[in-house]
C-alpha cells in the first residue's frame, strides 16, 4: 500500500478487554483506524456503522461465534471484508472453519505483533489485488 492510500479501517472484536485494548494500541500505532467491539452484537453494529476493510475476530465471543459474526459482516457490508480469526483455543476445527470462511489468516493466541502485522499485510495485499478493497 502506498503512502497516498488511506490506511484500512480495522474492526477488532474480542471479549477480553485487555487484549482488545492492546490490539487497538498496536494497530493505531501503525496508523490504522481501529474500531472495537466486545461481542457479536456490538461487532455487527460496528461493522454496519464503520464499514471496515479488515475484521480481526476472536472465535469464542458472547452472543455467537466469530464465524457467525463473519457471516453477519458479510451480509451487512457491501465490500469484501477481509477476516483474520484469532483464538486461544487449540481446536483444529476452528482452523478448518476459518479457512472455510475465507480467512486471510488464522492466529493462535498469544501471537507476536510481527505475526499480527504479517496477517494485516496479507489482508491488504488481498484488497489491493482485488482493486483497492471496494467490491
Amino acid at each position: 500500500m502506498t503512502n497516498s492510500q488511506k490506511k484500512p479501517t480495522i474492526l477488532v472484536v474480542d471479549d477480553h478487554t485487555p487484549i482488545l485494548q492492546a490490539l487497538k494500541l498496536r494497530l493505531e500505532s501503525a496508523n490504522y483506524t481501529v474500531v472495537i467491539a466486545h461481542d457479536c452484537v456490538s461487532g455487527a453494529m460496528q461493522a454496519r456503522e464503520t464499514n471496515p476493510d479488515i475484521a480481526v475476530l476472536d472465535i469464542n465471543l458472547p452472543g455467537g461465534s466469530g464465524f457467525e459474526l463473519a457471516n453477519r459482516i458479510d451480509s451487512i457490508c457491501e465490500k469484501n471484508v477481509r477476516k483474520i480469526f484469532i483464538t486461544a483455543s487449540r481446536d483444529e476445527q476452528f482452523r478448518y472453519n476459518a479457512a472455510k470462511h475465507g480467512a486471510v489468516e488464522f492466529l493462535e493466541k498469544p501471537f507476536t505483533s510481527a505475526t499480527l502485522f504479517d496477517a494485516i499485510c496479507l489482508a491488504e495485499e488481498s484488497m489491493l489485488s482485488a482493486g483497492g478493497g471496494a467490491c
Binding site: H16, P18, A22, A88, D91, E92, S113
Partner: protein, 436 residues
C-alpha cells in the same frame, strides 16, 4: 446298553408334514416379533434344575431318552414336545437351558430352523443337540452348519454319552454367555471412557483458552511498552520488558507442551501431513529460535546436502522438534555456545537425517536412557537454573515416531550431545501428496 428306534415317514405323514411346515413357519415369524428380555449368564447359572426340552414326535423315543437322562442321577426338568409348532410356543414361554431335537419331525426342520428357534427363545446361544437315527456324516455336518451344539445318533446313545453331550453343551453355552456379558461390559466401559475422553478434551480446550487469553494480554502490553508505542523507554527498561516477554513465551511453550502431552495420551498424536523440503523447515525453525540464541550469544551453524528429496511431514510439529532440541542446546551450554545442525540423505534407508550437535555439558549414561521419558528432567547443581516440565523431548520422540522416523541421542559428559532424528523421504511408492 439301551437304544431307541427312530420312526419312519410315509406318504400321509409327508403330506401332513408340508402343511405343518407352513404353520410352523408362520408361528416362527409371529413369535420372533414378540418382545424379549436379555438373557444373562447369571440367569442360566442361577437355574438350580437344568430345564431341558425334548422335541421328538415318537412317544417311545421320548420315553427312552427321558429314562436315559433319569439314570444319570442328575436333576433335570424335562419337558416334551412332539412337533416343531408345539415346541415353538414352549420355547417362547419357558427359559430352557437345552433342547434335544429330533432331526426328522413331521412338520420338519428346514435350514435356518435352529437359528430361528434360538431367536424365539431369545437365547442366541441356547444349546441344541440334534438327535437322529440316521447317523450319517452328512446329517452331522448339516446339523453343525445349521448351528447345532452337538449331534447324537440315537442308535449309539447311552446315559453316559447323553449326559456328557448335555453337560458339554451347557458348559459351552455358559461360557459363551459369560464372554458375551464381558464383551457387553467392555463395550459399555469403552463408551464411558470415550465420554470421559470427550470431557477431558473439552477441559483441555478450556484450560488452553483460559491460560492463553490473559497470557496474550500480558505479552502484548509488555511488547507495546517495549516497542515504545506508549512512550520512550531506556535500554534497561527494554531489557526488563524483553525478559517479561520471554517469560510469557516460555509459559506459552509450557502450556502447549502440557496440552500436547495430555492430548497425545488422550487421542494420540495428530499430524497434518504435506510435502516439504526439510531444509526449509530447519531454516524456519532456526529463524524462530534465532532471537533466543542471539541473546545467549550462541553460534548456530547449519549444513545441508543439495537436491534432497521432499518429506511428507507436519511442518509445525517438525519445527517444534528442531526448536526444542536447539533451544535445549543453547539453554544448557555454558561458555562459548555452539550448535551444529546437519541434514543428510540416507538413500538406502529412504530417510533424511538431521543431526543437532552441541558443546553443552553432556548427559551421563544413566540419564540418557530416560531423557525421552515423560516428565523426566535432566537436572544437577549446574543445570538447576533451567526449569521445565520434562515434556519437550518426550513430545519430540512422539512426533518423530508419528512420522515413521526415530530419534536418538549420544553424549559424552563434558563434551556435548548429538541428537539425531530421521524422517522417511517421499518416494514414488509412498508419494500420495503433491508438494505443498
Amino acid at each position: 446298553m439301551p437304544s431307541v428306534k427312530t420312526i419312519t415317514t410315509n406318504n400321509d405323514a409327508m403330506n401332513r408334514k408340508a402343511g405343518a411346515q407352513e404353520a410352523a413357519a408362520k408361528a416362527l415369524f409371529d413369535l420372533a416379533l414378540q418382545p424379549k428380555t436379555v438373557r444373562t449368564a447369571d440367569a442360566a447359572v442361577s437355574t438350580a434344575v437344568t430345564k431341558i426340552l425334548l422335541i421328538d414326535d415318537c412317544p417311545l423315543d421320548r420315553k427312552l431318552i427321558c429314562q436315559l437322562i433319569a439314570k444319570s442321577g442328575h436333576s433335570y426338568d424335562i419337558a416334551e414336545a412332539d412337533s416343531v409348532s408345539a415346541s415353538l410356543t414352549m420355547v417362547v414361554e419357558n427359559a430352557y437351558d437345552l433342547l434335544l431335537l429330533d432331526y426328522r419331525l413331521p412338520d420338519g426342520i428346514g435350514p435356518g430352523y435352529i437359528a430361528k428357534l434360538r431367536e424365539c427363545a431369545n437365547n442366541f446361544h441356547l444349546p441344541i443337540i440334534i438327535l437322529t437315527g440316521h447317523g450319517d456324516e452328512h446329517t452331522a455336518i448339516e446339523s453343525f452348519k445349521d448351528g447345532a451344539s452337538d449331534y447324537m445318533p440315537k442308535d449309539d446313545m447311552s446315559t453316559a454319552s447323553l449326559f456328557r453331550a448335555v453337560n458339554n453343551a451347557l458348559h459351552k453355552a455358559k461360557l459363551q454367555l459369560r464372554i458375551n456379558e464381558q464383551r457387553r461390559e467392555m463395550i459399555e466401559a469403552n463408551e464411558i471412557l470415550k465420554a470421559k475422553n470427550r470431557e477431558i478434551s473439552c477441559f483441555y480446550q478450556t484450560v488452553s483458552h483460559e491460560l492463553k487469553t490473559p497470557l496474550t494480554g500480558a505479552r502484548e502490553f509488555a511488547s507495546l511498552v517495549m516497542d515504545g508505542v506508549v512512550g520512550e523507554i531506556n535500554e534497561e527498561q527494554k531489557e526488563l520488558l524483553a525478559c517479561s516477554i520471554e517469560c510469557c513465551d516460555s509459559l506459552k511453550i509450557l502450556v502447549d507442551d502440557l496440552l500436547d502431552a495430555a492430548e497425545f495420551e488422550n487421542d494420540g498424536m495428530r499430524i497434518s501431513l504435506q510435502h516439504w523440503a526439510m531444509k526449509d523447515i530447519v531454516e524456519g525453525a532456526l529463524a524462530c529460535v534465532g532471537l533466543a540464541a542471539q541473546n545467549e550469544s550462541a553460534d548456530i551453524r547449519f549444513t545441508c546436502e543439495d537436491n534432497l528429496p521432499l518429506v511428507n511431514v507436519d511442518k509445525t510439529r517438525i519445527t517444534q522438534v528442531i526448536s526444542n532440541i536447539v533451544n535445549n542446546a543453547v539453554k544448557f551450554a555454558t561458555g562459548v555456545k555452539s550448535v551444529d545442525l546437519s541434514l543428510t540423505l540416507n538413500r538406502q534407508a529412504q530417510q533424511l537425517q538431521v543431526d543437532i550437535a552441541d558443546n553443552g555439558p553432556g548427559i551421563d549414561a544413566e540419564r540418557i536412557e530416560k531423557i525421552f521419558e515423560k516428565f523426566y528432567q535432566v537436572k544437577d547443581n549446574t543445570e538447576s537454573k533451567h526449569s521445565g516440565m520434562g515434556l519437550g523431548l518426550y513430545l519430540c520422540k512422539k512426533i518423530i515416531e508419528a512420522h515413521g522416523g526415530s530419534i536418538t541421542v549420544r553424549s559424552s559428559v563434558g563434551e556435548g550431545s548429538v541428537f539425531t532424528f530421521t524422517i522417511p523421504f517421499v518416494t514414488q511408492e509412498n508419494n500420495q501428496l503433491q508438494p505443498a
